[in-house]
Structure formats: C-alpha cells, structure tokens
Amino acid sequence: MADEEKKEVTTSSEATAAPTTNETPAAPAPRFGRPGGPGRRPGPGGRPGGRGEGGPRKFFRRKKVCKFCVEKIDSINYKDVRLLQQFVAERGKIVPRRLTGVCTPHQRRLTAAIKQARNIALLPFAARY
C-alpha cells in the first residue's frame, strides 16, 4: 500500500515537473506510475506503446483516447464485469481518468456502473490481501 502511494507521489511530481504544454504533463505519468503492473493495465490501448522504455524520458506519447468513444460502447452496464474490470485497479479502486483516458461523460457512467456492481458483489469494494 505504502509502495503504491509512493508511486502516486512520483507520478504527480513528474506531472508537475513536465513542461506544461497542452496535454503532455499527464501522459508520461501512467507508465512510470505503475511499472510492471501484472497484466491488469486499465485502459484500452490508451497507453503509450512499448517504445522508448530504455531512453531517459524520451518517449512517444500516444494521445490517450476514450475506449467507449472509440469502440462506440453505448451502454456501460453494471452487469458487464469484464468491461468494468478493466477500469478497476488491483485493489478494487476505480482508476482515474487521467490514467485511462476515458472522457468525462463516460467516466461518470463508468463510476456509477462500478458502484452498482460493487453493491451486488460483482466487484469488490476492496480486494482482500
């Protein structure tokens, strides 16, 4: 837990340190924020590609796009656990928009759906450890 928090701090400091051009500051954060997350990367291809991993802060930023807008997913339903799980961190937290690239209206619906799913025990409130 402490580890995760530390990462959060580093991401935020990076974000502030980055030159504040239009939308760059948030973009590099996720990749360094959670290195080696075991295959449960939230966000659909919103991540920058695997390039530039070695170079010191030299990477292509792919503009993150909203999965729901791109794939034209209209209904964000609490029953669709597969879909919702992509936007829930390992501990059961809802992944913030700045990491997944989901647009605001969709994030709002997503949040509501995740909370409904939690209520009916389809998703955990907090994963047990």
């Binding site: 034209k72 209904s75 609490y78 029953k79 409904q116 009916i120 025990a121 998703l123 955990p124």
Partner: protein
C-alpha cells in the same frame, strides 16, 4: 395523477447451499411476490452460480437471478421489501433501466440514420468506379 409504469431490473442473489429445486422454488416465490406487489415480470434470467467479490452472510458464492419488471415505483419498493424479508435471498439491487434504454434507442437511431447515409455515398463511389472500366 396515475403512477408511471417504469422498467426496472432487480438482481438478487440466492444463497448457494440450497438444492436446485429449492432455488427454483425461491425464484418462483419471488416472481409471484412481484406480481402480488403489483409489478409485471417481463423476464427472468438465471445467471447461475457465481463467485461473490466479497463475502455476504459468510457465503463466498451465490446464485444470481435477474428479473426485469415493469411497474410503478411504489410496487417495486414493495418487491424490495419482500426480498429483504425473504431469508434465502442474501442480496439484491434494483436499477431503473427505462431512461437508459431510451437513451440507447436514441443513440441507435442517430447512428442508423448515419449508416443509411453512408451506403448512398458508397454506392456513388462504386458506381463511378466501374464506369471507367466499362468505358
């Protein structure tokens, strides 16, 4: 003012340690309870036994059932009360879906109209393409 008929989804979880026919009986009692409460049951979907994301009444899994009902809110409240009282039902949730369905229908309509426009342009493109080939 007459009460509005609305569509709701009622999802509930039946405890897993019951025999199959007993579970069926619970489901049918809930159904009849729903009609008694004043909502029309439109659909019953058995989603089967699933693992719960967290323990509920010391159960690790449960039998999920999804009811789609139509009726006024007060009747749904009565149905919820019945579910709360029913001992084999360990958890339930009611979600109003008609607004969402309306929204989806609207989006679909817009999208369909766009699709209808596109084939015309596509036809025009294909129509123009073979023309030079024949000429």
């Amino acid at each position: 003012m007459p009460q509005q008929q609305r569509i709701y989804e009622v999802m509930f979880i039946v405890r897993p340690d019951l025999a199959e026919e007993e579970t069926e009986r619970v489901i049918s009692t809930v159904e009849s309870g729903a009609t008694a409460a004043g909502v029309a049951v439109k659909n019953v979907e058995r989603m089967g036994k699933r693992r719960l994301a967290y323990k509920v009444r010391k159960f690790q899994d449960g039998v999920y059932v999804l009811l789609t009902v139509e009726g006024p809110g007060s009747a749904v409240a009565e149905l919820e009360r019945r579910l709360r009282v029913a001992e084999p039902v360990i958890k339930y949730i009611t979600v109003r879906v008609d607004e969402q369905q309306k929204r989806l229908a609207k989006i679909k309509k817009i999208r369909d109209s766009k699709v209808r426009q596109r084939p015309q342009t596509a036809d025009a493109a294909t129509g123009s393409e073979p023309a030079p080939a024949t000429a």
